[in-house]
């Protein structure tokens, strides 16, 4: 039986990775909060107490944020985690163990093209639905879920349209500004975002092109967390380049493909989230490389900055394949193995600066590696 969602204080469902169908959370009357803060070395150190040193800094930061009592993180009633990489999976287990945060671990298949994987994902999405119903006490009806799919699709579409304005020679929005809109998607109610995104799109569309053409950069690789601004600031504010597209999970990538509105809602969600533009954890790797190349071509990038956080196996081990792919199409790649410390900023500035110089001189084989 359908219940109206009437609660004084909606439950807050936290999640880390983009493979979590947030439409189910909102359809159940809870508030989805993506937990993707990062960039603070002290919080990383705090998280290291429970994770050891050889652990991805984003995962350490996520654990550290709970340990340090970050108000956003500690306001979460339950974490839902479709297991992506090992490190986030284990980070969630650590959070549950050490901070008594309830969590539900859900399985995410890797071989998404197989029927068996799709059927299994469908069952896991059902587990998710049942759990979030239990959290809120509200049933999720197909009708309500379809409404949420439509609303979130509209928000995704606005973000994609705003991003496409960056295909102009002189993009009316910087990469840093686009990331702020992405944050809004994850932190604010979808209804509010729809209004704002449309407003931004109208405003940005009306800006005239002055004919300048800054160096066009795609950022690819692992997560650029909320608070991890130093690379974006370096590229855009210090070195004058323009990030025109992001091939990572806090940029354009999760908004590229909509969820089907023609299937039954649970099928649409389970297929749609499996078919989202893939992260390096998914198989086959070639599909991810194909998508990266498609984005780079579509946005006519001059070069790619590939970022992998230290101890992130997904993006560090697949780096060489990525570089080879783009060498094949003549787009130079700069690899940066990043962390959240400030100590290597000078070195980073030198390496990126040198890379840009090579590109400006027309060196198509400028692919290099920055420590």
């Amino acid at each position: 039986m359908t219940q109206e969602v009437v609660t004084d204080k909606p439950k807050r469902a936290g999640y880390f990775c983009i493979y979590t169908p947030i439409e189910l959370i909102t359809a159940a009357g809870a508030t989805p909060i993506r937990l993707f803060k990062g960039g603070d070395a002290d919080t990383v150190s705090s998280g290291e107490v429970h994770t050891r040193s050889s652990f991805c800094q984003f995962a350490q930061h996520s654990v550290g944020a709970f340990r340090e009592g970050d108000p956003l993180y500690t306001s979460i009633d339950k974490i839902y985690h479709f297991n992506t990489c090992d490190q986030m999976k284990k980070a969630v287990e650590a959070i549950g163990e050490f901070f008594d945060v309830p969590y539900q671990m859900l399985c995410l298949p890797r071989e998404k093209s197989r029927e068996s994987s799709r059927a299994f994902m469908r069952r896991e999405v059902e587990v998710f639905r049942n759990d979030v119903e239990g959290l809120t006490g509200n049933l999720v009806t197909d009708e309500r879920l379809s409404e949420e799919i439509v609303k979130h699709n509209r928000a995704r579409l606005w973000l994609k349209k705003i991003s496409e304005l960056r295909k102009r020679d002189e993009p009316p929005i910087s990469g840093g500004e686009f990331l702020e809109l992405v944050k809004a998607f994850y932190y604010l109610p979808v209804e509010k975002n729809l209004e704002q995104f449309e407003h931004f799109f109208r405003h940005l569309s009306a800006q005239e092109d002055t004919g300048e053409r800054p160096l066009r950069i795609m950022i690819s690789g692992g997560i650029i967390a909320d608070g991890d601004n130093r690379l974006v600031d370096l590229l855009e504010k210090e070195l004058g380049a323009r990030i025109v597209v992001e091939d990572h999970c806090t940029g354009l990538r999760p908004f590229y493909y909509p969820i089907s509105e023609d299937k039954t809602p649970l099928d649409a969600l389970s297929d749609g989230y499996l078919d989202t533009a893939p992260c390096a954890r998914m198989k086959p790797l070639t599909e991810r490389l194909d998508f990266s190349e498609k984005l780079a071509q579509e946005y006519r990038v001059d070069a790619i900055v590939y970022v992998s956080l230290k101890f992130c196996s997904c993006y560090s081990i697949s780096l060489n394949s990525f570089v080879k792919r783009f060498q094949g199409v003549g787009i130079p790649v700069l690899d940066i193995s990043a962390d959240y410390s400030e100590s290597d900023l000078g070195q980073l500035r030198t390496r990126v600066g040198a890379f840009f110089e090579l590109i400006k001189k027309g060196e198509k084989s400028a692919s290099t590696k920055a420590a």
């Binding site: 050891r52 990489c85 650590a94 298949p109 069952r123 954890r281 196996s313």
Partner: protein
Amino acid sequence: MPAQKPHNQKVVPIHQHEQATLNQREFLRRHPSSPAINRVFELALDYIQRADEAHKNGQKVVYGGGIFDSPLVHSYDAFPCVFTELGRLADDDSVSLAEDYFQIARETCSMVKATMGELLKRKDSFKRLINYCLFCEPYNTAFEVLKEEGFNIYSVDLPYRPAGVTGERFESLVDFAEVELRGLGEWLGGPIDEDRLRHEIRRTNQIHEKVRRILTLQVSNPDYIGTLETLFLWNGANHHYGAPKEFEEICDQLIQELEQYQASATPTNRVPVIWAGGRGQEFGLYELFDDLGGYISSWTMTGQLLRDFDEDLPPLRALAHNTVIGMGGPGGAKDTIPHLEKSLEETGAKGIIFYGYFGCSFSSVNFEVLRNHFSAKGIPSLILDGSFQIGAPTGQNVTRLKAFMEMIQ
């Protein structure tokens, strides 16, 4: 007549500085042990060579996990080889090769790099590999990269089992695993021969039983065979180094040796300790542990590996069941606790050593969770970060192990 006590034999001294360059084969052959264990060493050392020879002789050789899949691979008359055993032969050169050729970051888990380096060296001799998706992230990504080198890799999309999952959802995980394993069968050569698979499962269970018997005897007579010897026995408990018949004979021989030794054994003053997690190739560490008066009363991960296949289930279902339970990959950390507690109670172990490979994303949080749990109960534990490939133990690990053993004694 009682078997000779191997620990009384004169040990050819192996200095720590030598170990870094000493080939694993030389090390083991200079390491005296029981006649049965020496046969295990030989079997282990020739394992990859026999796989290469089988390939040259036209037999299908499949590199896989070697844990739950060996019965399935055997049922296709293929030679099951475990890719982690490739890594066990590896040294720093293989690690460097992987780092250089694939441009893999130095901080990546050494087990994965060692395996990749060895696979690369052999890429012209075989190309069929099984990748189980429940393995760790570095392996999953590494296998994707290896496809570009021409390896024929089949991914079995096995699910992770979150801690505490039971009932209908557990069966859903098994359903998925079963479909995926059926797909693996097709890749191995066509529809699964259920009768043949049942036979292979029965044989594996039979060997499990013998290995468990050895463990019981070894725990009650820990002076007879040392930690390193036991390690090689457990390593082969499921894949049998590709020679199940011979491995089973060796188990019988070792049981006989241990039973004979039991008659003349004197009570031990060795300290029982549980070894949990990985099993690296820093042989000196195991020797040091023995020298410090310890013995391993339970190998937690291996304990899981000795879980019998359920012969009441259809054979493929039994295989799927064991993969999800955790035979082929760790599930949630908390699920390990009951097993560890049972081992502590049964063996009277005085502490737990958690051993992981540096950079291993699986083990790091697991160990912290487990250490936290047992620390609250007053059980001392030690976390060691080691390396997978052969070499001398780090000074830090040596010092910490010494301090730990001194404390629990």
